[in-house]
């Protein structure tokens, strides 16, 4: 600011009274709106190097202009020019209008913003004038056109820029004024203030304080030489060569400011095309990120088996990074640091109200369009999907498809074997269909033999065949089914369609075809980035229905073949096909084709599966085969696109040596960074040499160990086919723009509604709530680069127990909303800075009215009885695992009980199976022993000897359990019911097959298991059953009409029963009569419940309603109730004051007496009433003493005398005292009943 005041002749602190200046100003022809005509294409020699962030040449600008349809950057940049123009226009008028004009009008008090805006405008005027006044030659040079430069003086020396660096060119310390002149004369815009960072494109400085260094971290801070040199060269030089570096450290290792430069540093600049049109634009060139179309760069990340080159920073593809680190890794995905579209749109309140989180239907719309949401809900829906698929597989729905597989030519024996097994699988006969029965058992025997040939320990692992099946660019290939003409072209799936949005679209790419990937396009990029890499990329829309359909078909096929299945996502699954492969192998052995020894049955099988999926869906699937999950995933990457790959254990070390740490599933960027920092290598071959301890040291214990094993090809994770749902959440971090707390609150409540809906849809309730909040990073612009995205954020989390009344788990939207909002309030964020909100509910429990008191781990998630035979099979299989686990010889398999179904090769024979069935009841017994024994089995003597309260609770518990079986779907009744007779013809293998599918179906079902530890069960608070079982006879015995009883709510039923069954307990039903106050519509009447339950969950505080002093209000029908001491005292005071000359009316006396006596009466009100009555009486006493003090102790003389005298002061006084004593006596009488004696009014 101050540097300007000294600005030679035209200082900025002029006033409007300088007529000469005014005249000069009005006459200025402003050159401000820069027109494209007067721009000449710069000489080729000066074309700067290719750089993303700094597009210096006009040619580049042309490219940008031609592509982007939206010129918001123009608006931004031209703002100042606009100001100038307006001034210019007004300047033509008279001087008084001139004074009224935008810039030179008087600032009103408190309008500092206006003042500053004007000041800026004035300075720009000055600059413009300078440009005119300057020498002609310089004026023609427009090398700085489009730049908006802020010159930051060294703080100690506002006037001079101190250059510390050696100046080769001989220029010495250009002053700020000189710089200003230079900038303005060469077409740039000089900013005196840095109050709008987004406007300024470059900062010129020689020295910065550390705080400023931090502040300008993301801006282009340049030394003044840049300007000087550029002017000398006659063209804009690349600013990167003049980056200001604080102190110019000697060692680069200490953190040279490489910033954006590094990302594309290694690339050879490609000669740009000459502009087809020469019209330059007014666009501020800095905002353009255009680069000439490059030869598509193959990112190393793309090739799955790359040898690890250690690039210092890997580009990350996200459209909305939340951390600085992420942001730094993303090559310009958006054109602006702050999204100008959004900024502009947000100006419009109507738009804001309709499109941001403030909109009433925002959440709904958000979830309608959120791809991630679709994917995540699908995961939940997969349960149904898989169930459907299973049904199809069982009903032979795949039989039609099985014909397809016969089309495959079967040239070799192995192929024929594969076909056979595939046929078997598809036709739903699997291993044990009736027709093949004998065959099957034989086969089982053969397999056993085979297995015995190998070491038992090894067998388990080596024979496991895990396949990782993954669609190749699922969304794209599904979309291409309808669009065959697009095959072979670079295609991406994203929201943004056609040319709208175009080059600057931040729409995220969900999936890219392999042709597109060849250009370097990846999922997660913005469309803009993709367009940059490949301008001809074609976009196709999402087709969620089709994806779902394909997914179903995909799963149906997998289901038919799999022993076990882990659904990873809609287009990706892990299957265990051990048994099928073993059967193929056996088939081969049977055929004894020695020549075919070398074939790989697993790979053939995978190809068969691939062929099936291809036939059915038309999409390609890639399958990776290995003996564990991790290797299968690696293999599938090699298999892609459209292939299969069997990774054999012996190949693992060789493969690993070529991999990088983040090629492993579950290891990402951060693990890579840690490995690089602490171990000095990211290549798995290198890391293989490290000891386990070293890995654990560097990466943490768990990760280190996993890595150590992974490198050696070991992964003992079982397929997670039955993962219980742990949490339900709702996160929204798009479009969150609030203006005040009310909006935020409404939104939080809306989100709570959504969460509640989701909880109810899976019939769950939660006990814990986590609120996740994204808040705009203070350094981030208000509008994020992604349109309405969250931008750079700070993440905050808070957790609170979610407690519904009575300490129950809840899914109630109000309770959730309240909790969430309370947490939100406790953060105390500015609502404007909120960018993302997430509500997550954990500690889920089943929502049925009965709180399932499942105990321990032995409980099976029983299905409802509808399919009793299935349930039977299920328990059988569970039983079999149980026995196997119990078997010490097989103890080593204990760790994998999650795969319930053992492949037939390891299965026991029929006898075992029968035995298992018989063992089931003991299993149940074990379970119930943890629980309470049945009531009939109780040792009554022990029961009687229990302490009173414990016994009562046990009684209540038994009461609860004796509910009608139909109302409760709990496990208890079923466990006690006799097991259905096992089907006699059932074979073990059939069981295995059936169970297999069953288990798979169940895998995605959210299984609720209360998270309370079983030990606390007995005395934990309970929610009681909804219905109470009692015989009609018993009810009649108590004198209760059974029909009436049945109609009562369960709580009442329990209360009534408890009342009659346990007479020792003091009951409300009896006591209520005393407590129940006369119903009244007083202030607190809402607090006194009409019926006092004895509710187990939430007892309500009972307040005795205080007596009130009723009065007629001013209006008719209006009644006033006084119960507070002050109010009553005031009434008394006005009463006494009104009757100073007359004896009190007896009706009034009674009126007050009634109130006071009621207050004192222990049966009518509580002791606070006594307090109140005493206070009122004391006040009355005070008033009487004040007015009639003389007669206080006068003996009450006979009344006749009183009447004779008429209304003298004495008689009035006496009457008052008499009334007082009368009332006092009545109060005493009431009080005596409770406390004895009388009330003291001292």
């Amino acid at each position: 600011m101050s540097q300007l005041t000294q600005n030679s002749s035209r200082s900025s602190d002029y006033f409007d009274d300088d007529p000469e200046f005014l005249r000069a100003i009005t006459e200025i022809p402003l050159p401000a709106p820069v027109f494209e005509d007067d721009l000449q294409p710069p000489p080729l020699t000066q074309r700067p190097r290719v750089d993303v962030q700094e597009p210096a040449t006009l040619t580049q600008r042309h490219l940008k202009r031609s592509r982007s349809l939206d010129n918001f950057d123009v608006d931004e940049g031209a703002q100042y020019h606009g100001v100038l123009t307006s001034v210019d226009a007004k300047g033509d008028g008279e001087s008084e209008t001139y004074l009224d004009s935008h810039t030179y009008g008087a600032s009103r008090f408190g309008e500092f913003g206006e003042y500053m805006a004007r000041k800026r405008a004035k300075l720009q005027l000055q600059n413009a004038e300078m440009g005119v006044d300057g020498d002609e030659s310089a004026a023609e040079s427009k090398i700085f056109r489009g730049l908006q430069i802020y010159v930051r003086p060294f703080s100690g020396f506002p006037l001079f820029i101190r250059t510390h660096t050696a100046q080769i060119n001989g220029w010495t310390e250009p002053s700020v004024q000189d710089l200003r002149q230079m900038i303005v004369q060469h077409g740039g815009i000089f900013h005196a203030y840095l109050d709008k960072k987004s406007l300024v494109t470059h900062i010129i400085t020689c020295s910065l304080t550390p705080a400023k260094i931090r502040e300008f971290k993301h801006m282009k801070v340049v030394r003044p030489d840049w300007l000087v040199d550029s002017i000398q060269a006659g063209a804009l030089l690349p600013w990167q060569d003049y980056i200001f570096r604080p102190g110019e450290r000697v060692e680069d290792a200490q953190g040279r400011r490489v910033a954006q430069k590094s990302l594309y540093d290694g690339f050879v600049p490609v000669p740009t095309r000459l502009p087809t049109q020469t019209g330059p634009s007014r666009v501020s060139s800095t905002s353009s990120t255009t680069t000439p179309p490059r030869t598509p760069k193959k990112q190393t990340v793309l090739s799955p088996l790359k040898s690890a080159p250690t690039t210092p920073m890997r580009p990350l593809y996200l459209t909305d990074p939340a951390t600085l680190e992420e942001a730094a890794r993303i090559p310009g995905y958006a054109a602006f640091e702050s999204n100008p579209n959004a900024e502009r749109a947000m100006q419009d309140p109507a738009w804001r109200a309709a499109h941001t989180s403030v909109a009433p239907d925002f959440i709904e719309g958000y979830y309608k369009n959120s791809r991630l949401h679709h994917l995540s809900t699908w995961k939940a829906e997969l349960k149904d999907l898989v169930a459907e698929a299973q049904e199809k597989a069982e009903n032979g729905g795949t039989e039609a498809w099985s014909r397809l597989s016969t089309d495959l030519g079967s040239p070799s024996a192995s192929q024929r074997a594969v076909d056979l097994v595939v046929q078997e699988n598809l036709s739903g006969r699997g291993l044990g269909s009736g027709g093949l029965e004998g065959d099957v058992s034989m086969r089982g025997a053969r397999l056993m033999k085979l297995k015995q040939g190998k070491g038992k320990e090894k067998a388990a692992d080596d024979e496991r065949v895990i396949m990782h099946c993954d669609f190749d660019s699922f969304f794209v290939s599904a979309g291409l089914i309808d669009r065959p003409h697009l095959r072979g072209k670079p295609v991406v799936v994203c929201h943004s369609q056609g040319s709208t949005g175009g080059g600057s679209s931040t729409s995220e790419i969900a999936s890219a075809s392999y042709e597109a990937r060849a250009f370097g396009i990846k999922g997660g990029m913005s469309l803009q980035q993709a367009r940059k890499l490949c301008p001809t990329v074609v976009t196709i829309p999402y087709e969620f229905q089709r994806y779902k359909q394909f997914s179903l078909q995909f799963y149906t096929i997998l289901m038919a073949h799999a022993d076990d299945l882990q659904a990873v996502s809609v287009d990706e699954a892990l299957i265990d096909v051990t048994s099928s492969v073993a059967r193929i192998r056996a088939e081969l052995v049977e055929r004894a084709d020695d020549a075919q020894e070398a074939v790989d049955p697993a790979k053939d099988f995978a190809e068969a599966i691939r062929a099936q999926v291809r036939k059915v869906t038309g999409c390609e699937v890639s399958i990776g085969i290995a003996n564990n999950i991790m290797l299968a995933r690696l293999a599938s990457r090699r298999a892609k696109p459209a292939g299969s790959f069997h990774l054999r254990p012996e190949e693992v070390p060789e493969l690993m040596a070529t991999l990088d740490i983040d090629d492993l599933h579950g290891f990402g960027y951060s693990a890579r960074q840690k490995a690089l920092e602490k171990l000095g290598a990211t290549n798995l071959g290198e890391l293989a040499k490290k000891s386990k301890a070293a890995l654990c040291e560097a990466l943490g214990k768990g990760t280190g160990e996993t890595l150590y094993k992974a490198i050696r090809g070991i992964d003992d994770r079982p397929l997670e086919s039955d993962k219980p749902r742990k949490s339900v959440s709702c996160d929204i971090n798009y479009g969150i723009r609030f203006e005040n707390n009310e909006q935020a609150q409404t939104f939080v409540y809306q989100m709570a509604e959504e969460v509640s809906r989701r909880l109810s849809s899976i019939a769950m309730r939660g006990r814990s709530l986590t609120l996740k909040v994204l808040v705009r990073d203070p350094s981030a612009p208000v509008e994020a680069p992604k349109f309405l995205g969250h931008g750079l954020c700070e993440a905050h989390n808070k957790q609170t127990p979610l407690i519904a009344p009575g300490g129950r788990a809840t899914s109630d939207e109000k309770v959730i909303g309240e909790h969430a909002w309370r947490l939100m309030k406790s953060f105390n964020f500015n609502p404007r800075d909120l960018r993302g909100i997430g509500i997550q509910i954990q500690k889920l429990e089943k929502a049925s009215t009965v709180q399932e008191t499942e105990l321990g781990q032995a409980i099976l998630p029983f299905k409802p009885l509808d399919a009793s035979s299935r349930g039977m099979q299920e328990t059988t299989s569970k039983g079999s695992t149980a026995t196997e686990v119990g078997d010490t010889k097989k103890g080593d398999r204990e760790r994998a009980p999650a795969i319930a179904v053992q492949p037939p090769s390891q299965d026991d024979d029929d006898d075992d199976e029968v035995q298992v069935v018989e063992q089931r009841p003991p299993t149940d017994r074990v379970r119930t022993e943890h629980d309470l024994p049945s009531f009939s089995q109780l040792d009554m003597s022990v029961f009687e000897a229990l302490p009173d309260d414990v016994r009562k609770e046990l009684e209540a518990e038994y009461q609860r359990r004796s509910t009608t079986p139909g109302s409760v779907a709990g496990p208890a009744p079923k466990a006690q019911s006799p097991s259905p007779a096992p089907e006699p013809e059932k074979k073990s293998n059939l069981v295995v097959k059936g169970t297999n599918v069953k288990r798979i179906t169940r895998q995605l079902a959210p299984r609720s298991r209360p998270l309370i530890s079983p030990t606390t069960k007995l005395f934990a608070k309970r929610v009681y059953t909804s219905s109470v079982k009692v015989t009609n006879n018993e009810l009649r015995k108590y004198g209760i009409d059974p029909d009436v009883f049945a109609a009562l709510p369960p709580e009442m039923q329990r209360e009534q029963l408890a009342a009659h069954r346990a007479p020792g307990v003091t009951l409300y039903t009896t006591e209520r009569k005393i407590l129940k106050p006369t119903t009244r519509h007083g202030k607190r009447s809402s607090k006194s419940p009409a019926i006092v339950f004895r509710p187990p969950p939430a007892p309500k505080a009972v307040y005795i309603e205080p007596p009130t002093l009723k009065q007629q209000g001013k209006e008719r029908g209006e009644k006033l109730y006084f119960s507070e001491t002050d109010d009553v005292q005031r009434v008394i005071e006005s009463w006494v004051a009104g009757f100073k000359e007359h004896p009190p009316n007896q009706r009034d006396v009674d009126y007050f007496a009634k109130f006071l006596v009621q207050c004192v009466d222990g049966g009518r009100s509580s002791d606070t009433g006594v307090e109140r009555a005493v206070a009122v009486a004391k006040w009355w006493l005070v008033l009487l003493r004040r007015h009639f003090g003389a007669w206080e102790n006068a003996a009450t003389s006979d009344e006749c005398e009183e009447q004779r005298r008429g209304h003298t002061a004495e008689s009035v006084g006496r009457a008052w005292w008499k009334a007082f004593r009368e009332v006092k006596a009545r109060m005493d009488e009431a009080a005596r009943r409770k406390f004895g004696g009388c009330l003291s009014l001292r």
């Binding site: 009344p805 009575g806 300490g807 009173d948 309260d949 414990v950 009562k952 609770e953 005395f1019 608070k1021 307990v1065 003091t1066 009951l1067 409300y1068 006591e1071 407590l1075 607090k1087 006092v1092 004895r1094 187990p1096 939430a1098 007892p1099 309500k1100 505080a1101 009972v1102 307040y1103 005795i1104 222990g1162 509580s1166 002791d1167 606070t1168 006594v1170 307090e1171 005493v1174 005493d1228 009080a1231 005596r1232 409770k1234 406390f1235 004895g1236 004696g1237 009388c1238 009330l1239 003291s1240 001292r1242």
Partner: protein
């Protein structure tokens, strides 16, 4: 040397702070034990929910009641014995209850100014438990005899004379248990007071 002297008030009690109010706390082990025992016995009866009043009677040497400090209780809400730690909707919070207790103590300290002088020297006290009508103390510990014995009638509410004066110190309704503290000056004490006053007046005259 100190042990030879009779115990004084300051030996037995120290000043402490409770609910932000200065109170006297016993520090004599025997007295502590007695107080603990008494409180325990009261607690046991309170748990049964049948207690109506707990009265500390200050009595003269000849067993005449002088002042009765009455803690009157009333349960407005019955909670199952095994469910004692449940939360109650709408009840006074523990924090604000602390404030109420503070006012109990403050007003108890102040009530002395309203009460008449105790002229007897050889004072004693008794703790009287008054139950709801037709309830008997039932809490017993094992085979020990119950800690309570029938009270002498003059010490009880029923035995209080009509002219005894009651000062309500403080009352609070918690929504679960209503509690109040009152001090009652007995007829005997009031008469004694009047006699002494009139004597003093006569002397003065």
């Amino acid at each position: 040397m100190a042990s030879n002297l009779p115990l004084t008030f300051n030996h037995l009690f120290i000043r402490r702070k409770k609910y932000d109010t200065p109170v006297f706390q016993s520090r004599h082990p025997a007295l502590n034990e007695y107080i603990a025992g008494a409180v325990k016995a009261i607690t046991d009866e309170l748990a049964l929910g049948t207690v109506d009043k707990v009265v500390v009677v200050i009595k003269s040497a000849d067993e005449k009641p002088l002042e009765r400090f009455i803690f009157a209780l009333r349960n407005t809400l019955q909670v199952e014995p095994y469910n004692k730690d449940t939360s109650v909707e709408g009840a006074i919070s523990a924090a604000s209850l602390g404030q109420y207790f503070r006012s109990f103590l403050v007003k108890l300290n102040m009530i002395e100014a309203q009460l008449g002088q105790l002229y007897s020297d050889d004072l004693s006290f008794a703790i009287v438990l008054e139950l709801q009508d037709d309830k008997a103390p039932t809490s017993t510990q094992g085979k020990d005899p119950p800690p309570w014995i029938p009270a002498s009638t003059p010490h009880t509410t029923a035995g209080a004379a009509e002219t005894a004066e009651l000062h309500m110190v403080r009352a609070v309704d918690t929504g679960i248990i209503n509690l109040s503290l009152a001090v009652q000056e007995s007829e005997y004490k009031l008469n004694q007071e009047r006699e002494i006053e009139s004597k003093g007046k006569q002397k003065a005259v």
